[in-house]
Symmetry: C2
Subunit: 293 residues, 2 copies
Amino acid sequence: MKIGFIGTGIMGTPMAGHLADKGHEVYAYNRSSVPDSLKKKGISVVSSCKEAAEKAELVIIMVPDTPHVEEVLFGKNGVAEGIQKGSIVVDMSSISPVETKVFAARINDLGCSYLDAPVSGGQIGAENASLTIMVGGDPNAFDKVLPVFQLMGQNITRVGGNGDGQTCKVANQIIVALTIEAVGEALVFASKAGADPAKVRQALMGGFASSKILEVHGERMINRTFDPGFRINLHQKDLNLALSNARALQISLPNTATAQELFNAVAAQGDSGLDHSAMVLALEKLASHPVND
Amino acid sequence: MKIGFIGTGIMGTPMAGHLADKGHEVYAYNRSSVPDSLKKKGISVVSSCKEAAEKAELVIIMVPDTPHVEEVLFGKNGVAEGIQKGSIVVDMSSISPVETKVFAARINDLGCSYLDAPVSGGQIGAENASLTIMVGGDPNAFDKVLPVFQLMGQNITRVGGNGDGQTCKVANQIIVALTIEAVGEALVFASKAGADPAKVRQALMGGFASSKILEVHGERMINRTFDPGFRINLHQKDLNLALSNARALQISLPNTATAQELFNAVAAQGDSGLDHSAMVLALEKLASHPVND
């Protein structure tokens, strides 16, 4: 298949690489230069998003945030200027669900399909082609793109219509942040009360308090292994999506707001490059007590 | 073994029953009357906590909260007045970790051992002898009582010294409440953004957002099955322990405080008898949007 791939950063580079490895004809565009590693795989570099759209029947976008997707799609020399009727746009960036519905409608008006397909699993998931992919959009378009998704990920779900993929990703990031916060409060409490947090974590595994986060991030908090993993500054971006969309949707997310403030407090100490489990540092500062003390 | 059992309520009755079934000589005291079902099992009813302590080498306490344990132990005709040197007191109630250390020291001063051994698993766990038991106290006393614990529970951990069992239970209740809150915020967001919360829950299971709470309580929120389960008014008591002990320990638990307020908001509508997953009703009220809408 002829595939335009826009955004060859930390995530996009291995993802585009998998598509080329399996024989797809990939036309890559990046704001800065496309890595040589991709050129060696036979990927063609194009000079604009418009050109990527002209040459391809499927255009994949993997860029940082909502304004970047808008620029790629509808900016000067953007996808909308080059796309052919019947083509499919797949946005795999993590962006606003509300804006996504607007973007999808504008692409539909050009006689094209749109899928929002954000991922979780990070750089390692991208490299190992083991990403979780949460998809919103038309079922026929989903069926056509599924074999391409399967070259990049393993757990691929069509959640619903346009925007629902992004909504699912935001829901995921809310739960992950708030469960990290929950484990942080519990371990700070346990430690300050004089218990061994490692034994408390062990006793809680298997019961109703058990979670992937207690297992993985609880252990990180106890062992002080805060090298990422998933960086606080990326999770701040995702919680900003949650909070700004919540305001637009007229709902209140009180603990998401607090979790964002705790991330902000860690970032204020210059530590926004640490793994998101380091949110516990802000709780410890409130308590003046590290969990491993 | 001669066992005093103080507190034969919803939890204590099946627990004491298991001990009698396995041939232990049980002396039961309850503030109101001891159920006939226990008398039929050959359990002797005594007229005070003091008498239960006089007749037994092991005294088990299962009462609602910290002041009740204090009254049972050190009130008029309490355990401390009747207990013999070398006996063991086991408090299986869920009470304050800080106060527990004081109670344990006073019992130790009488030449006796003390174990704090709160449980999770609720009425069903008590009836099926499948409780999780989190124990704090002396290892020798723990080893002596372990065969008795095994008649009431399955997952039995000595977490550390006195108070650490109660600390572990509080940590458990913090994580459970905050994970319910996290799943609630995520599902309200997803629903209000127009996605199907059941499909979102499905897509998130297996990833980093996965937890026992997403599985069980997430399903309850979607299907509106709020019959308990574990009642909000009991979880309010546990979060009050968390917050009052946090204040005593000089630590800050911001999301636990919010979760308690959300429970309070549900209780304000007269719904404190519902399952704790009904915390989502307060989030929905903030959003004016039920997750199954």
